[in-house]
Symmetry: C2
Subunit: 233 residues, 2 copies
């Protein structure tokens, strides 16, 4: 358990966007109901069909939201970085989770009971607008993803995945190495293809000098060309 003073520090520094929407007494309510949990690599935070109870706030690490599909296939739907919120959609929809969330790597998360969040929303319209905004952006992303994943060819889908990783987790100081190191399988699950095809297509990109690969370390060499592949072929 972490001391109260540390709580305050973490949430006031990192939860900026949502935090700033709150009045002093509301901040107090959040602080009082905030609990911190650590997750190991690949540990599940919540699973499909669970009842949504918490608003999760990723403080440290990386998290994937995914859905188990047909056979053993998995589709990664969204990726989270500090400090982003998730786990609230199903609660607001009054339905069980339709997807699962797991830590990509050792991660620290904050949790606030959704009832508390809902009460806060009822008395604070900036907070309501925060969630309306988040949901709206996610829905647009999900709609766009439908078309990309169903209509683009393998190369386009993998290019999309790489570009998403750049956007989401950024690059090292060398301005080319992806900050996330993920398995070929996760890469495949992100871009709707088999692991073999992720490996093969990644290899093709290396041959074409678009990227450089060393184990799970990926260096982006030709981002412009990746964008072209995402758009056309």
């Amino acid at each position: 358990m972490i001391k109260k003073s540390t709580f305050e520090q973490i949430i006031s520094q990192d939860m900026a966007e949502m935090w700033s929407a709150l009045r002093p007494n509301e901040k107090r309510i959040v602080t009082d109901n905030f609990s911190i949990q650590n997750f190991k690599k690949n540990q599940i935070i919540y699973a499909e069909k669970d009842n949504p109870e918490m608003l999760w706030c990723l403080l440290k690490g990386k998290v994937k939201m995914y859905k188990n599909g047909i056979g053993d296939r998995v589709q990664i739907l969204r990726l989270y970085r500090p400090v982003q919120y998730f786990g609230y959609r199903a609660y607001f929809a009054r339905e069980p989770y339709v997807s699962s969330a797991a830590a990509f790597e050792p991660s620290t998360l904050g949790a606030i009971p959704m009832e508390v969040v809902e009460d806060l929303i009822k008395g604070n319209n900036d907070l309501a607008m925060f969630f309306i905004h988040e949901l709206s952006r996610n829905l647009g992303g999900s709609d766009t993803k439908i078309v990309s994943l169903t209509q683009k060819h393998i190369r386009g889908r993998l290019a999309d995945a790489l570009l998403l990783l750049i956007e989401n987790y950024g690059l090292e100081d060398d301005e080319s190495t992806l900050k996330i190191y993920m398995s070929r399988e996760d890469l495949a699950n992100l871009s709707n293809m088999t692991t073999s095809n992720a490996i093969r297509t990644l290899g093709a990109f290396v041959n074409e000098k678009l990227i450089l690969v060393d184990g799970r370390r990926i260096k982006i060499i030709n981002q412009a060309q990746l964008r072209k592949i995402s758009k056309f072929g």
Copy 2:
């Protein structure tokens, strides 16, 4: 142009869910800013990349929200029936539309400027919760659709489309005829396949006595089996 009294009637009867969240003075604001527009069959209501300005309320008819994809392919994302609201997501996300909306058949729509809606939300938390709820349900649907469209086989996807049409537009008094008559092409665009394959697979379903087809009229004979096909093969 329709008389004010008729306005009041339409919106108080049909806009029930959102309408009931409003206080008398807010209802007045909506009424004063409400305009009615008729759309012909296949007429576009708004298009991708347009700037979102209006909250649309479908009063009569049927509307499809779709996205133009690669080549000439189209993906139908959502269907609307009276009385449902759409067109607000992009506004809340502060981005241009990522999809288009068009009338399936001659339709009557109400329009309210999004600025007015946003002002109302800022002063009315029930209204905010209405949108949070709608967005949350749509996002769950979109996430589920991603997996269905990418992982299910053609038969499962077409079965899904038929079940969606039942759920969305219902059946005639005979409790078997779909209330919506759509082209094979639209059916294909709903279930991510070519028109040829929609025609063929529909034919297969007829052979298997799951449905009966007379032109665009579709009778659902064996819904249980359609559900099985949606789930497995």
